[in-house]
Symmetry: C2
Subunit: 312 residues, 2 copies
């Protein structure tokens, strides 16, 4: 399902001569990921993940790959991109921008424990700290301007209740300004399928291709909205507290972050409700993704709008 571009062994073997990684031993498609093509590549020197980018262009990649390299260099658990003899992390393969990253052990977790949520929170805070010294910048392409604009195109497709909720939440978020909050490089998509774990240890955060500069607490809210969410869409208070405790063991929230935390949780729910509504009602022509249920984030947003306990 997620090998959209086929690479032959001969083609890959030739491309690998750009790298100091030895000879190709084997090549195997990875049945995960919904945007890019991924392969496990084994060479005489080790095991790597090959990604062919189906949407991102070669010139888009330095921000993301440079970030992963920077974070890995600081000990943050994530794949490290491998540079080729031209000192580049990416080049064309089979007509697509392609890169190799180190292969991590571990697997994603569908039903996390409190200890795993705590570990995710802690590593996210370490990622935020390490990102402080990353010099490149990327505005968030899915921030408030994006969801306001996207919402306008969605109202015709929604029922009255949904449209009213969306309109109200967009207005609510627009009415809140966050200039005083700490910002930096965020992962922006730290869902359960983007973390590899070995037991209670983080083997690595993966899939940094939504990373950008935005509010750090917003990134925590995105992660909490997935990691602490039960199958029925409700939040498990123990998991939520564990993730926040792990995060704050490294970087405690400042007062302004505590004050605006409920707004952040709503913003993080809104952002994914909007993108899922968009995928559902206006799928891109020829898109190969499977559509995820937007309702989960609508219910989460509604719950966040009415709850009184925010686990801080």
């Amino acid at each position: 399902m997620s090998v959209y571009t086929t690479v032959s062994e001969a083609e890959l073997a030739a491309w690998l001569s750009r790298y100091a990684l030895g000879e190709l031993v084997s090549l195997r498609g990875i049945a995960a990921g919904i945007t890019n093509t991924n392969y496990f590549v084994t060479t005489t020197h080790g095991r790597y993940v090959l990604t062919l980018f189906e949407v991102l262009r070669l010139e888009d990649l330095p921000f993301y790959l440079g970030l992963m390299s920077h974070l890995a260099r600081h000990g943050v658990a994530c794949p490290a991109p491998v540079a080729d003899h031209n000192d580049a992390f990416a080049s064309l393969l089979a007509g697509k921008p392609a890169c190799l990253v180190t292969c991590l052990d571990g697997q994603d977790v569908s039903t996390p424990s409190a200890a795993q949520c705590r570990a995710v929170g802690e590593m996210l805070a370490l990622m935020h700290r390490a990102g402080d010294t990353y010099p490149e910048r990327m505005p968030n392409p899915r921030g408030p301007a994006w969801w306001s604009r996207t919402a306008s195109g969605l109202y015709p497709f929604l029922n009255e209740d949904e449209a009213a909720l969306l309109r109200d939440e967009v207005a609510y978020q627009e009415a809140h300004r966050f200039d005083a909050l700490p910002s930096g490089v965020i992962h922006a998509d730290l869902f359960r399928d983007n973390v590899l774990m070995q037991g209670e240890t983080i083997a690595g955060f993966i899939d940094f291709y939504y990373a950008c500069n935005d509010l750090l607490a917003y990134d925590v809210a995105i992660a909490l909205n997935d990691w602490a969410r039960r199958d029925d869409g409700s939040i498990d208070a123990e998991l939520a507290r564990a993730l926040l405790a792990g995060y704050q063991s490294v970087r405690p929230f400042i007062e302004a972050e505590r004050d605006t935390w409920p707004v952040m949780l709503r913003a993080a729910a809104l952002r994914f409700w909007v993108s899922r509504l968009l995928d559902f009602h206006q799928p891109q022509a020829g898109e190969l993704t499977y559509t995820k249920d937007p309702g989960v984030f609508r219910h989460l947003l509604e719950a966040h709008r009415t709850r009184s306990d925010f686990w801080l």
Copy 2:
């Protein structure tokens, strides 16, 4: 023997807060290395090697640690230094410049096989290629100027035959110019104890603190003079050919390198003969190293001066 500076767990735990590596779990001195103090450090996130530099100063380290980081980023098997929250690879600990690098599996090999020599040659060539894009420069502090100067101070300590041989070889090397040979970043000390292996695979080159810019073929000669040398000081032709074949599978020698190869082997033997003579006859006050036999390299030099087969 090689823990010259003692670090307490409390001191290390405090210093570790500079890093995104979690909490200290354990600390254990490493009984290897003759210049620096090394510890295995286990944190909640992984296993690292801590080095405290006994001679190098903090301002000397960026060349070496930046090089290791560059090579690791290019897939060359070597430890990757970890950057701290200030984006620095080194800072003071217990009054000494100190760094953390990733911990590699594998162990050094005292009696290498031909396959292991081949792997060393191949990885050395990959290291030379990857070094092409490393922007920093370091002249070789132990090049011809150093050995000529050092030899002058040694003649009074040598018997007539030794002095004549040393004088003649220094003059011979001075009479040869190598401006046409490929140069770049070299390891300059790739002896058997500086390579960790897992079976026939290189787990990592270590100890880059003699690395500098010099002739690439000279680096190959240094490695060959150790890896292919039998206990009696003679060269094992099969091991020598294997190392050279591995090297040339990645970077074949150019004609000028083939022509001057016998001179390189002599230069590499001379350099270590001189440094061992220096350690033997004029040990530095308070130096904690154990003195290695200079005779091995004298015999090797004499053999190189008379042989007709150079394994190319």
